[in-house]
Symmetry: C2
DNA sequence: CGTTGGTATGTTATGTTATAACATGTAATG
DNA sequence: CATTACATGTTATAACATAACATACCAACG
């Protein structure tokens, strides 16, 4: 008997997902990418990425530093910022500006113009593709301007939190 | 002979505009709004708004504090952050997240979902309406989520700076 | 093999941005 | 004039980020 997996085709944004698989995939992806690009996936870089992908939620640089410290790495600020900068450059991490925090990319193969949906109450963050968000990016060049990077963050309240609000 | 004003109908983003008029309009608009909403446009609030509208470019909180100091106001951080927060709430100021800076709203009557276009080289910032940016906001509610606020910032290089780059 | 150059990490110090907590002032209301 | 609401003032500190310089490692080259 074939039973459909819960939420499998849901269009909900904050839905459950198989994080075990996600984690493994992500590690494999970053490994492949680093080999292909002849970059060094050093223990430090790997650890930072693992910290982010494990939690799969935005972490502040100093949270990451604490975890690095616990794991026996150096934990002075430049360590985290450098590695994060590197991982961001290569599309494996994004910065969530509204939270001064960093999050592992849900899918590095996706668009480099991610949209983040942030619940101000539970602070859950979802990275959604452009199509899913209903938001259409302009062509990469708007009049007299070449877009290189976008920050698109939608803050509000998710239905779970909204229903819980006493009004 | 009627001569068309320079750039009047240009679709360029970083174009010249009549800032004298803009300034006057902005002050009038904020005055009207405050009267209508029975809010106090105190000397401090007015000054902060004037500082921002005069420069008409993003200023850091501490830049604003300096200018407040020069003008004889208190210049401890909470002063600026409080007033900025208040002006933001009422739509007269926006925060440009990518620059940790604040900018007067180009037109408070416009959408509350502004898009900022930021040149990484000359650091000019333009606030554009949704239509103009070519960016279409999703309906205010995407699946299971109520959007209350958006941060949309497009960073790149304006044509002037691009042409000036030696490649 | 020893030097050189590139890359990564370590360390110290400091710069920048933002807020908490509490005190004071002021003006309208009952 | 006591109460309340709102605005501002002040001190201290928290949170976020980078500059500048030191060390380590390794691979390529003469």
């Amino acid at each position: 008997m074939k039973k459909k997996k819960k939420n499998e085709n849901s269009s909900k944004i904050f839905e459950y997902h198989d994080h075990g698989a996600c984690f493994g995939d992500a590690i494999t992806q970053i490994e492949d990418y680093f080999i292909q690009k002849k970059l060094q996936l050093t223990p430090l870089r790997r650890k930072v990425f693992e910290i982010l992908i494990e939690d799969h939620k935005p972490l502040g640089a100093y949270d990451i530093l604490d975890k690095l410290g616990e794991a026996g790495f150096s934990s002075s600020p430049p360590i985290a910022y450098r590695v994060l900068g590197f991982l961001i450059e290569h599309g494996f991490v994004h910065k969530v500006q509204g939270l001064n925090a960093f999050i592992a990319c849900s899918n590095p193969k996706h668009s480099h113009f991610p949209t983040f949906v942030i619940c101000r109450k539970c602070e859950k963050v979802a990275e959604v593709s452009e199509e899913k968000s209903g938001l259409n990016l302009p062509s990469p060049r708007i009049t007299n301007f070449k877009i290189e990077k976008t920050t698109i963050e939608l803050t509000g309240i998710c239905s779970t939190c909204e229903n819980a609000e006493i009004r």
